[in-house]
Amino acid sequence: MDLISFYIFGAIAVLASLGVVGQRNPMHSVMLLIVSFGALAGLYILLDAPFTAVTQIIIYAGAIMVLFLFVVMLLNAHTEDDLPKTALGPRALRIGIVLSLALGLEVAFALSRLGLTTFSNDPGTVSAISSVAKIGTQLFTTHAFAFEVTSILILVSMVGAVVIARKES
């Protein structure tokens, strides 16, 4: 059952992500990206991490993608611009294929070296890791510095956005 669900969610995530890059309508790309995030959330649930799944939906599918949608709607871009013809010759395409094949091999090699024994399947350990209280405690004790630095980073970018958007009076 878990395996079937994994393949279904995995297939949806991969196909939707390919669609995001592959087709030319920005609105459809945004929607496919949401589908892909939803499938990822499903994978997190299969990994006994419901909190991660829900935050994935709230933050990425819920908040960030609404922003994307907003931008696409306001620009009213129905289709992407055509590719500039001069920049990409047949040679560039060939180099691209070689590079992506190399990257694919690299990823496959890295994944094959990954030991599967490092992950615990013990239900007690899994539930202890995925509990919301545990995540919160970890976040505010062990990872407090990283947490605060991220907060400051977001604050700075927010102030920056406000300054850029401000009208000259």
Partner: protein, 345 residues
């Protein structure tokens, strides 16, 4: 012989889900009737009274009428998104209710070997699930507004996304305050934590500990469901019908359905978080769902009452209220609650 995985409990659960689904659809029909009736009485007229006793069958007549109408589609619309937008709206509205508990466990008078919990599913992050699904509900409206390729629809969609993003913050912060008091994200645990009485009289509902949180939740809830006085996405005097201007027939009916089911969900969550869910005096425990229904009904009535009493705000007033008043109050409420929870243990 039935396969092993079809136990009486699984069958009972399936039947329960079927009943919940149909009750939600019926509640939407009932809400349409109640809205028209209450509106009529507020305006000193009888309201629908031809179809069925006191016009009770009016919503069903409306549905049949909508079913037989022509499904129109603007020529310049994005076909796929135009068709899928109302489905997203309705599906998210139904999905959000799946984690709301409305009663304790039952064995159906000993028919079942294991007790059945009265809800679709018990998730240990239920509050967050509701928050996530409500935030997904925006897409139905925004996509409908964009794909119709009409200026009124687009403005409605833009307004709704801006409004929902603005009020979702206060909505989430008011939820967080209750979560801190209860120490749990499961709605069932939050409800059971509210059992008991202070001085044998006042029930230990979180509305008495979180009066400001309740007000914030209700205000943000009205904005989230696009109801008057915050019904900007469909403000008929300015935008014809807003995001669903170009919709007709069943697609329109789905938006209508979604709006009312969202109201029911917001009220049901308010009942669970602030009003003690199915807990109440007098009735035995297995009839607790009657208390739940009564509380949800009262909140829904309040919604309708408000719609026909208050005029619509201006758009800039809505934004100013959301960001400059509601959000700071919600943050303050959260900080004070956190301090008190730590101080009093």
């Amino acid at each position: 012989m039935l396969p092993a995985f079809i136990s009486p409990n699984v069958v009972a659960h399936a039947v329960l889900i079927f009943i919940i689904f149909n009750c939600l659809v019926l509640s939407a029909a009932f809400m349409v009737w109640m809205e028209r009736k209450v509106c009529a009485y507020i305006q000193d007229r009888p309201g629908p009274n031809r179809v069925g006793p006191e016009g009770l069958l009016q919503p069903f007549a409306d549905v049949i009428k909508l079913l037989f109408k022509e499904d129109l589609r603007p020529a310049a619309a994005d076909t796929f998104i135009f068709l899928i937008a109302p489905v997203i709206s309705a599906a998210t509205a139904f999905a959000a209710f799946s984690v709301v508990p409305f009663g304790t466990e039952t064995t159906l008078f000993g028919l079942l070997s294991e007790p059945l919990r009265l809800e679709v599913t018990d998730v240990n992050v239920a509050v967050l699930v509701i928050f996530a699904i409500t935030s997904m509900g925006i897409y139905g409206i925004v996509l409908a507004g964009w794909s119709s390729n009409s200026k009124y629809s687009l403005l409605g969609g833009l307004r709704s996304s801006a409004q929902m993003i603005s009020y979702e913050l206060s909505y989430g912060l008011s939820l967080a305050a209750v979560v801190m008091l209860a120490g749990s994200l499961s709605l069932r645990e939050i409800v059971t934590n509210q059992s008991g009485y202070w001085f044998h009289v006042i029930p230990k509902w979180y509305i008495f500990l979180q009066p400001i949180g309740f007000l914030i939740y209700m205000t943000a809830g009205v904005a989230e469901t696009n109801r008057a006085p915050f019904d900007f996405p469909e403000a008929e005097q300015e935008l014809v019908a807003g995001y669903h201007t170009e919709y007709s027939s069943m697609s329109f009916a789905l938006f209508f359905l979604a709006e009312y089911i969202n109201m029911v969900t917001v009220s049901a969550v308010a009942t669970s978080l602030f009003l003690g869910g199915w807990l109440g005096p007098v009735l035995p425990e297995w009839l607790g769902w009657l208390w739940f229904l009564l509380k949800v009904f009262l909140i829904l009535f309040f919604y309708v009452w408000m719609r026909w009493t208050l005029p619509r705000y201006r758009y800039d007033q809505l934004m100013e209220f959301g960001w400059k008043w509601l959000l700071p109050v919600a943050v303050l409420n959260l900080v004070v609650t956190a301090a008190l929870v730590i101080w009093l243990g």
